[in-house]
Amino acid sequence: MPTRPPLLHIENLTTSFHTNDTVVQAVRGVNLHVNQAETLAIVGESGCGKSVTALSILRLISMPPGRFDSGQIKFNNQDLLSLSEAGMQKVRGNDISMIFQEPMTSLNPIFTIGDQIGEAIIQHQSATGAEARKQTLKLLQKVLIPSPETRIDQYPHELSGGMKQRVMIAIAIACRPALLIADEPTTALDVTIQDQILSLLSSLKKDSEMSILLITHNLGIVAQFADRVNVMYSGKIVEEASVDSLFENPMHPYTRGLLNSLPKDDSESKLESISGAVPHPAFLPKGCAFHPRCKDAMPRCQQQPPLTNTTKENTHKVACWLYEEGGESL
């Protein structure tokens, strides 16, 4: 496979929120990249900073209280953080678009879905109303909404949750973005509807060169859908690997804990849970943020945050002292 430069490259991103008495670093020095036509998943529990990472890419963090303390977000070699607001508006919905978790509240209740899909087309492609409507109808067909001619003039409240998420996807792909950010796209949906939406996203992915950044807490969706995974904990990426490698050989104790806490198919034994709870982002423990919950914690973990280690093949990375010299061999 010829190596092309990554489509999106985040370097050392730190996003923090300043309130009257505390500073919360939601994202603490994240490095990640999304290759062309690749699906990268970010997995983690609530509050680990996965959504803030996604919102930072589109600069949808309200400032104040938010602030970018450091880092670069390079998209096609252009730093998004140094772009003007007008320049950023050309990127949003055009080159990079986003699907949100809550299809119920992400659509505007006082506009028809046709208006809302057409808006993106009119904004970014300077199309006329009639052209936009034609394209909108095609998009509705593409996301498999039955009888698009009647649906196009309906309001969001007339649609079910799964339909609304299809409309969100139609808005997101209206301008053929190079990168689609899907932030928990199916969490609010039922299993059978989740299944429909995921199969729609896979078929859209196959038909285009689109890259997807998938944010989820559901490891089943990661296994089925992603090419590569980043595991996040307390604002940092603790492990990065290909999907096969991560599920076959999870290295970070947190990743292992997550996989072990899933109910297995064949066992009736107790689940192995991770003790304790995610620390409050304003009061993170010193050293490795995971050490109070870690079974393998060493004295060193309480002192210094771990460095990122890479395996020989340069594909599996883990931030844990266990894999430093003297730890387990790679």
């Binding site: 089943g220 089925q224 899933l262």
Partner: protein, 321 residues
């Protein structure tokens, strides 16, 4: 094993008033003729999508919602025929844990009052020994007794759910309804709560109706599983059999829709089409026929009746009858 609670053709219709002076009345058939038995010490999983009536069924089973018709026999007594004092005497035996650990605890009460109130009401504790009893229960669910004077906002989601469990267990119930107790929690915390419930169930031999939309959790925890669709139970079987030989097309679709955590096992099934129809206007015949890949003409007109495939395995589908 003997039956603890027996539900017979239970129905709940909610009237919806519309139009000028509420002249038009429609009914939502939230639960439409459900019969279920739960044995002593059994965990029965109840699975279904949102709006299928599983929460209504759970709440009715402990008489938090009055059914439209039907019978609920609990330990030999029809609880729907009881007067208020009779019901109060039975209440400690039937408890519930709610889905939302944030909304189900009174923010103005301390943990002592949240857990202790029911014990005081039912005369299981007195002012003098309340504190020690509450601490005992808190320790049982893995909460440090030193937290007794704290308020709900000082706890994390997982800890609040432990408080909810402690409150339910304080009365030594025989029957516990768990209404999506882990779906608001993160994976790592979910496993803690599941383990706790399993441990307590084994220790105290409680019967549990475990309501969830998460098939993995139900599979792990429950002895028997009932699948619900639009107000009706479409299939009941011991969990192992259900997962191996699901008979109803809806159950099979649910099982196939669950994403596998093995990236080597990529799914190739065709997703179920359409949405769950509105319970205001359910389809004629078998409610599932609009989405069923195996529907025939008979399914459109004739409603299937429960059919016993094998012992303990019942399915409501024309394919088998």
């Amino acid at each position: 094993m003997t039956t603890l609670i027996s539900i017979r053709s239970l129905k709940k219709y909610f009237p919806i008033h519309e139009g000028f002076l509420s002249k038009n009345t429609k009914t939502v058939k939230a639960v439409d003729g459900v019969s279920l038995d739960i044995d002593h010490g059994e965990i029965l999983g109840l699975v279904g999508e949102s709006g299928c009536g599983k929460t209504t069924l759970g709440r009715m089973s402990i008489n938090l919602i009055k059914p439209t018709s039907g019978e609920i026999i609990f330990g030999g007594v029809d609880i729907l025929k009881l007067d208020n004092p009779g019901l109060k005497a039975l209440r400690p035996k039937m408890q519930i844990i709610f889905q939302d650990p944030f909304g189900s605890l009174n923010p103005r009460f301390t943990v002592e009052r949240i857990i202790g109130e029911a014990m005081m009401v039912h005369g299981l504790a007195e002012r003098s020994n309340l504190r020690s009893k509450v601490i005992e229960i808190m320790q049982k669910v893995g909460l440090p007794g030193s937290f007794i004077n704290r308020y709900p906002h000082e706890f994390s989601g997982g800890q609040r759910q432990r408080i909810g469990i402690a409150r339910a267990l304080s009365l030594h119930p025989r029957y516990l309804v768990c209404d999506e107790p882990v779906s608001a929690l993160d994976v790592s915390i979910q496993a803690q709560i599941i383990n706790l419930l399993q441990e307590l169930q084994e220790k105290e031999n409680i019967s549990i109706l475990f309501i969830s939309h998460d098939l993995n959790v139900v599979k792990h925890l429950s002895h028997r599983t009932a699948v619900m669709y639009l107000g009706q139970i479409v299939e009941t079987a011991p969990t192992k059999i259900l997962n191996k030989n699901a008979a109803h097309p809806y159950t099979r679709a649910l099982l196939a829709a669950k994403p596998s955590t093995n990236p080597k096992e990529l799914s190739s099934h065709i997703p179920l089409s359409g949405d769950v129809p509105s319970p205001l206007n359910p389809p004629s015949g078998c409610h599932f026929h609009t989405r069923c890949p195996e529907a025939t003409d008979r399914c459109k007109t004739e409603q299937p009746t429960p059919f016993q495939l094998e012992e303990h395995h019942t399915v409501q589908c024309h394919l088998y009858n």
